[in-house]
């Protein structure tokens, strides 16, 4: 206690703020992760099955989807936040706070998820797909009984990587008004010359990343019976 009071005086003073920031970051990351997965996984499936030589080849649709995904993946996140401010305002009437960050986080992360899901699904053995066709499976059955279960460890790894990126993105979003640990580090630590806050919030972000990676690895390993 003595040690903390001496070396981390501001952390003690602003501890309630830090706790709130942890919750804000957790909230932003988890909600945007769920939404990104909900958008990205179906998009990834579409990218696979509409491609040439797959279940439902639709070259035009594939090209359009692929280009859209690439566009959103090439826009730097900080630019994406700014571009989306007006949209956010229309949607939730404000452009600050954790909720305001969700839209840009999802738009930034969903295409990322889509590509990772696409890669995992493409690795599913063609023979297994053929076998299910020989059993008379519909496209829909092939997707949810074969493609998704067989690529699940890969998808989980992809979602884990995305969650970690979202921790970083959410910190960036914090700087422009979304709150969370990033905002704490920047506003109190950097601009307010409270070095101890900057260090502690950064350490908290690192711990968060480690925990996410660990959880992801454990789940992926549990599911992998190869």
């Amino acid at each position: 206690m003595e040690f903390i009071n001496t070396y981390l005086p501001n952390v003690v003073t602003f501890w309630d703020y830090i706790v709130k920031a942890i919750w804000e970051t957790g909230y932003m990351v988890s909600l945007s992760l769920v939404l990104s997965a909900l958008v990205g996984i179906p998009l990834g499936v579409l990218l696979v099955i509409t491609s040439k030589g797959h279940l439902k080849p639709m070259p035009a649709l594939y090209q359009v989807l692929s280009i859209i995904v690439n566009i959103f993946r090439s826009i730097p996140y900080i630019v994406l936040i700014i571009i989306l401010i007006p949209v956010t305002r229309v949607l939730i009437n404000t452009s600050i706070g954790p909720n305001a960050a969700i839209l840009s986080l999802v738009v930034g992360a969903a295409p990322f998820v889509a590509r990772l899901v696409e890669t995992s699904i493409r690795e599913v053995d063609k023979g297994v797909i053929e076998a299910s066709q020989s059993m008379g499976a519909t496209t829909w059955q092939i997707i949810y009984k074969i493609l998704l279960p067989e690529s699940l460890p890969g998808i989980i790894s992809g979602v884990t990587v995305t969650a970690i990126s979202l921790v970083g993105f959410s910190a960036m979003a914090g700087v422009v008004g979304a709150g969370g640990l990033g905002a704490m580090a920047y506003n109190y630590g950097f601009n307010g010359f409270k070095t101890d806050i900057m260090i502690v919030t950064t350490v908290l972000l690192i711990v968060m990343v480690q925990v996410i990676q660990m959880i992801g690895d454990v789940i992926a390993r549990k599911l992998d019976h190869r």
Binding site: A131, E150, H225
Partner: protein, 343 residues
Amino acid sequence: MIKLTNIVKEFKNRFGTFTALNGVDLDIQKGDIYGIIGYSGAGKSTLVRMINLLETPTSGEVLVGDTHLHKLTARDLRKARRKIGMVFQHFNLLWSRTVLENVALPLEIAGVPKSEHKERVNQLLDLVGLTDKADMYPSQLSGGQKQRIGIARALANNPDVLLCDEATSALDPKTTDSILDLLKDINSKLGLTIVLITHEMHVIEKICDKVAVMESGRVIEAGEVVEVFSHPKTTTTKEFLNQVSGTEQISDEFLSGLGEGAVLRCTFLGGSAGQTVISRMITDLGVQVNILQGQIKRLKEVAFGTLYVQIQGDVDAEAKAVAYLKKNGVIVNVVRGAEGGSN
């Protein structure tokens, strides 16, 4: 049961058109174990996929049972496929599912109520002899066990036809034999028609009733296995027969080490192998015969095989022996002629 008529399959790519099947006719009766043999690239994999329409023919007709498969809607085709099981070279099991769940997959796809799955799967696992493996994952099984699971899965919806795409090609000889025994057992127990493709004559010899030999997208020879084995018409068929008849060429070193006298290669097909041709020749002609190398096999009721013999004596003895053997239905090739005599 299965009738393919004038099947043509062309694959187009940017380099041009490749004809994988070039007018194939096939007529498979109910309850047959029908083997299709050919080297890789002969089109046999494409052909077997015509039977469940995994490959669609460029032209030609596919009749399975009373159904023209190529005339069905996508929905009806899926339904028809449930009655055509398929087994694959690389098993194609789902690693994410246990053995039980793998075998239940076709049941799920066909919409069989979940409550019936367990009983049906256990029947199937019992049939293939792997009841104790139900809760294992495929990665914990050996190749032969995986193929048994593949077979159990293919039989889940009580198919009328079982297609085997090189089902034993990834397995060692012993496991191959046990899988072939299983297929034969299933054929007689369930009375279902089996179509299998292979590049191993051993597979044909062991379980097939009928065989079609394929080369460059055509069936070059087809019929009862016994008939095709005893009267092979094409070089390719003869080459395949060499795989099983144990007729390796006699080595030159061995030949040069032999004493005088003609060396003959006698091919016995059908009836001639069942008779005492060689011993009768010895008594009838009074020649001395030295058996060098060979093997006679029995396939169902027919024997076939090759024997290398040395005929002691000069050209006259050789000529008499060759004539005698030929008269008795043996195919004779002179490997090394005799010297001397009235040449």
